[in-house]
């Protein structure tokens, strides 16, 4: 038990980071690096989606729209207005949040399925705007020739390997910040809203303000991951905004575990590799993947990490029962991975 717990705290995250750092040495081929970097970028967006959907319980289907918003902000600013990369990068976060504020404020007035349906529409409108507003977004032609991330001092990002480490650094930052948020009182506030907004409100929690904060943080993750995507792929089409990407990210969360920190990360890294290896099945791969997903949702509704945490929490509670209350009180809190 103690041994296992070691792996779930800082040490576990440290080992994951080490694996991330050593990954290029193990694969040593650019294709795999590119697949992994793309997976990291979507993992960042999925972390954000998990904050509003997994932790706050508001199933947002406009997430890929916000990701595209960040990506297009960076693309338009760097290509059409020659704004330096990192300034455009910062602005892509600002623009995403600035647009997320009114959109979130309107959407969050709705609850449950209505919120999901509404955000599905919001996402589609974002897609349509990107596709049709040719003067700004180059329409279906897309934005070509987006510059790679500019050098930061002596650090350059001109090879897939260097880009890999850049994206990894952002992922690490994203996980670190998210861990702070969800393990804090603020995270508990979001979870209280998910568990039941009626009760949360009766406990003095301002629903709109807290949901909006979660929503804005969530779209900030989407915006910056989109900007990274633009700098990494260096080409943008309106497809990025399509709902299919929102559903992909939802799938990552479900596989890994909604409302857990590690779950969406695991899902976002695992599922792309699975689909890569099923590439030979072409379109038919969903014949295998679909039923697998359904089985997972039926038998492991909390996902891989969620099921593991539930199992462990129950074991701990059983272990803690016979001990006198004063002793259990001194035990460290149950830490969410």
């Amino acid at each position: 038990m103690m041994f296992l717990r070691l792996f779930e705290g800082r040490l576990g995250w440290g080992l994951l980071l080490l694996a991330g750092l050593l990954f290029p040495l193990i694969v040593g081929n650019d294709y795999h690096l590119t697949v992994m970097s793309t997976a990291y970028i979507f993992a960042i967006a999925t972390l954000g989606l998990n904050l509003i959907t997994g932790y706050t319980g508001q199933f947002n289907l406009a997430h890929s729209g916000f990701m595209a918003l960040g990506a297009y902000t960076l693309g338009i600013l760097t290509v059409d207005h020659q704004v330096p990369f990192w300034i455009a990068f910062a602005l892509s976060g600002v623009v995403t949040v600035a647009l997320g504020l009114p959109l979130g404020w309107v959407s969050l007035r709705l609850r449950g399925h209505y919120f999901s349906i509404f955000t599905l529409c919001v996402g589609y409108i974002l897609f349509l705007v990107i596709e049709k507003w040719e003067g700004l977004t180059h329409g279906t032609v897309g934005i070509i020739g987006i510059p790679a991330p500019a050098a930061i001092g002596p650090l350059t990002f001109d090879t897939p390997l260097k880009l890999y480490y850049l994206v990894l650094a952002f992922l690490v930052l994203g996980v670190w910040v998210m861990r702070r948020i969800v393990n804090s009182l603020m995270g508990r506030t979001f979870m209280a809203i998910r568990n039941g907004d009626e009760l949360a409100q009766a406990l003095g929690i301002n629903l709109m303000r807290n949901k909006l904060v979660a929503f804005l943080l969530s779209v900030l993750y989407a915006g910056w991951s989109g900007a990274l995507y633009a700098g990494f792929v260096r080409f943008l089409g309106p497809d990025l905004a399509s709902a299919a990407h929102s559903f992909d990210m939802t799938m990552y969360m479900l596989v890994g575990g909604l409302g857990t920190l590690l779950g969406p990360l695991l899902g976002a890294l695992m599922v792309p590799w699975l689909t890569q290896y099923m590439q030979f099945l072409q379109e038919y791969r969903f014949l295998i993947f679909g039923p697998l997903l359904i089985l997972l949702v039926i038998f492991m509704p909390h996902g891989i990490v969620g099921s593991w945490l539930g199992w462990r929490a129950r074991r701990q509670s059983v272990a803690a029962k016979p001990v006198a209350p004063t002793v259990t009180a001194a035990k460290p809190e149950v830490r969410r991975a």
């Binding site: 804090s184 979870m191 009626e198 409100q201 406990l203 301002n206 029962k321 259990t328 149950v334």
Partner: protein, 256 residues
């Protein structure tokens, strides 16, 4: 403590609460009874700010609470329990309770990102309040249990603890003894008395007449949204309108 005057709530042509005036008295156990559909829960929702009254006034300690949102009413010191308590069943009981004191803390996003001293302080206070509340309701031994594993009666007590963690002055209890057995009901009644003994004011809705009659200091009887009687248990029991509306038909009711 809470003064209610001519409170009316209409849903279309239907008056769920009609012209009710009453006073929730400080330091007492105030009960609201009435047959199903009498408007009791609507009454609670009005006090809690969940729905806005069509007309009438409510003043809590001299302050008009009609325009306030639910969370603002809670911040003033009005806590509430529900017929069913939505807990996070995969987390421990203590984890579920920590958020109860959140409304008395001020840590914002910046505190969270920087891991400020204020946040540490707030989290410690919330944890302490949660433990104290759990201890108060007699469940200190359950703090590490998974919320999904506890009994219905323990869940009721956790709901009380959540309300207490908000540091309320007035606690509204919606059917606190719903779905628990007679012995457990006695225990919950004792807990409600203990709350009042510690300076709280309680207002509760309950269907179990024997519990109400022995527990309440003051009873308000609603029927079809209107106040038909008010007074001590003895007065209410003797009131012919009450006997007609409620006690006489008690045997027809499905026990809650």
């Amino acid at each position: 403590m809470l003064e209610i005057k001519n409170l009316t709530k209409r849903f279309g042509g239907n008056a769920a609460v009609n012209d009710v005036s009453t006073v929730i008295e400080r330091g007492k156990i105030n009960a609201i009874i009435g047959p199903n559909g009498a408007g009791k829960t609507t009454f609670f929702n009005l006090i809690g700010g969940v729905i806005k009254p069509t007309s009438g006034s409510m003043t809590f300690e001299g302050l008009d609470i009609v325009p306030l949102r639910t969370d603002q009413v809670a911040c003033l010191g009005v806590a509430r329990t529900f017929q069913t308590t939505t807990l996070f069943d995969m987390a421990t009981v203590l984890d579920n309770l920590i958020v109860g004191h959140r409304l008395r803390t001020r840590s914002g996003l910046w505190d969270v990102l920087t891991g400020s001293k204020r946040l540490m302080q707030d989290e410690r206070v919330c944890r302490e309040k949660a433990r104290a509340a759990l201890d108060f309701v007699g469940l200190a031994h359950l703090e590490n249990r998974i919320a999904g594993d506890i009994t219905q009666e323990e869940r009721k007590r956790v709901a009380f603890a959540l309300a207490l963690a908000t540091e309320p002055k007035l606690v509204l209890l919606d059917e606190p003894a719903g779905g628990v057995n007679p012995e457990e009901t006695v225990g919950l009644a004792a807990l409600i008395r203990k709350m009042v003994a510690h300076g709280l004011t309680v207002c509760l809705i309950e269907h179990k007449m024997d519990m109400i009659m022995s527990l309440a200091d003051k009873i308000l009887v609603l029927n079809y949204g209107e106040k038909i009687a008010e007074g001590t248990p003895a007065e209410v029991r003797a009131n012919p309108a009450v006997i007609d509306a409620y006690l006489g038909s008690e045997h027809d009711e499905i026990p809650a």
